[in-house]
């Protein structure tokens, strides 16, 4: 039952998504491409690109994955799996969590999670580069984007995305 599997895999992932949906890319790839063979590398990176360009939260990459795997119901199953269980848990726990604000163990979690989240996001970037099999031209875009984004914080990423899309459209990558 592929819908149930989609829901379950996404729900499982949501509980380790420290650092948000972007941190999940490597594990999404491992589950969807390597383990279940639901998608191939190319489709995976292309869906990532669509989610990146679309407005709205980047968690929607799982909506796209669900769609490609099992159509409309798949899209719903994946999105619900990713959002629902953690939402319920947060709803139940938020008051207690806020009562404990400032406690040592809570500070320890927020301090301790940060370096892991950085590692996850870095791994996500290397994974996309690997799965999309970037050549020299694409690596130049990666480098320029990284530098521009770090140097000019006010430059909206959408401009960079548009520029990248144009460069890709011209066929140089």
């Amino acid at each position: 039952m592929i819908l149930f599997e989609l829901f379950l895999e996404c729900a499982l992932l949501s509980f380790v998504a420290f650092g948000g949906a972007t941190a999940l890319l490597p594990e999404l790839h491992r589950v969807v491409v390597d383990h279940h063979h639901w998608l191939n590398d190319t489709t995976f990176t292309q869906l990532y690109a669509i989610a990146q360009a679309a407005p709205g939260p980047n968690v929607l990459v799982v909506t796209l994955i669900g769609w490609e795997v099992a159509g409309l119901l798949g899209a719903l199953a994946a999105t619900l799996g990713m959002c629902l269980p953690m939402s319920v848990l947060i709803y139940l726990l938020v008051d207690r969590w806020e009562q404990c604000a400032g406690r040592r163990w809570q500070q320890a979690i927020s301090l301790g999670v940060a370096p892991l989240a950085v590692g996850l996001i870095f791994s996500g970037a290397t994974l996309i580069a690997q799965a999309a099999d970037f050549q020299l031209g694409a690596w130049v875009i990666v480098l320029v984007t990284t530098l521009l984004n770090l140097r000019y914080r006010t430059l909206h990423p959408l401009w960079l995305i548009a520029a990248g899309a144009l460069a890709g459209l011209s066929g140089g990558l």
């Binding site: 669509i50 899209a75 939402s87």
Partner: protein, 149 residues
């Protein structure tokens, strides 16, 4: 919108809750919508807020998926998506760099970043395993450093 237009919450409140939702697992914005929804309208708010946040973008993304299914195989579309993926990849590197620089006591905590990258990107270990072990180690070290102050 919540802070500036409706004055439903103060900027400090918003930042505190956003901070909380950023290091708890799950999709950040959805978590935040649940927390804010609950705060103002209880259970109905906690249900309506994330739905309102997601419905529009989900519809747009599904529309794009339809387009992709029809035209995705064209060489132009392939090139376009490659370009966007490259930019997305660069944005991720920038994000990792920025978050990494924001970490205090870098010599203490960066090794955990290196371990995470080794486990996930190089060895391709399952993420729940890596995160459980990493959080235990990194959290303990954080707990210990907090006690020394």
């Amino acid at each position: 919108m919540l802070v500036e237009q409706r004055h439903w919450m103060t900027a400090e409140d918003f930042n505190a809750q956003l901070g909380m939702c950023q290091f708890l697992p799950g999709p950040n914005v959805v978590n935040l919508a649940v927390v804010v929804g609950k705060r103002y309208q209880g259970l109905p708010g906690a249900i309506v807020a994330p739905l309102g946040l997601l419905t529009g973008p989900v519809l747009i993304v599904l529309l794009l998926a339809l387009v992709y299914d029809c035209y995705g195989a064209l060489p132009q579309a392939q090139g376009l998506l490659r370009g966007i993926a490259a930019v997305g990849c660069g944005l991720l590197f920038a994000m990792a760099w920025r978050m990494g620089m924001a970490i205090q006591a870098k010599p203490v905590f960066w090794p955990f970043t290196v371990l995470t990258v080794s486990g996930i990107a190089l060895l391709r270990w399952p993420m729940p395993l890596v995160m459980a072990a990493g959080l235990l180690l990194s959290g303990s070290v954080a707990y210990w450093t907090l006690g020394r102050k």
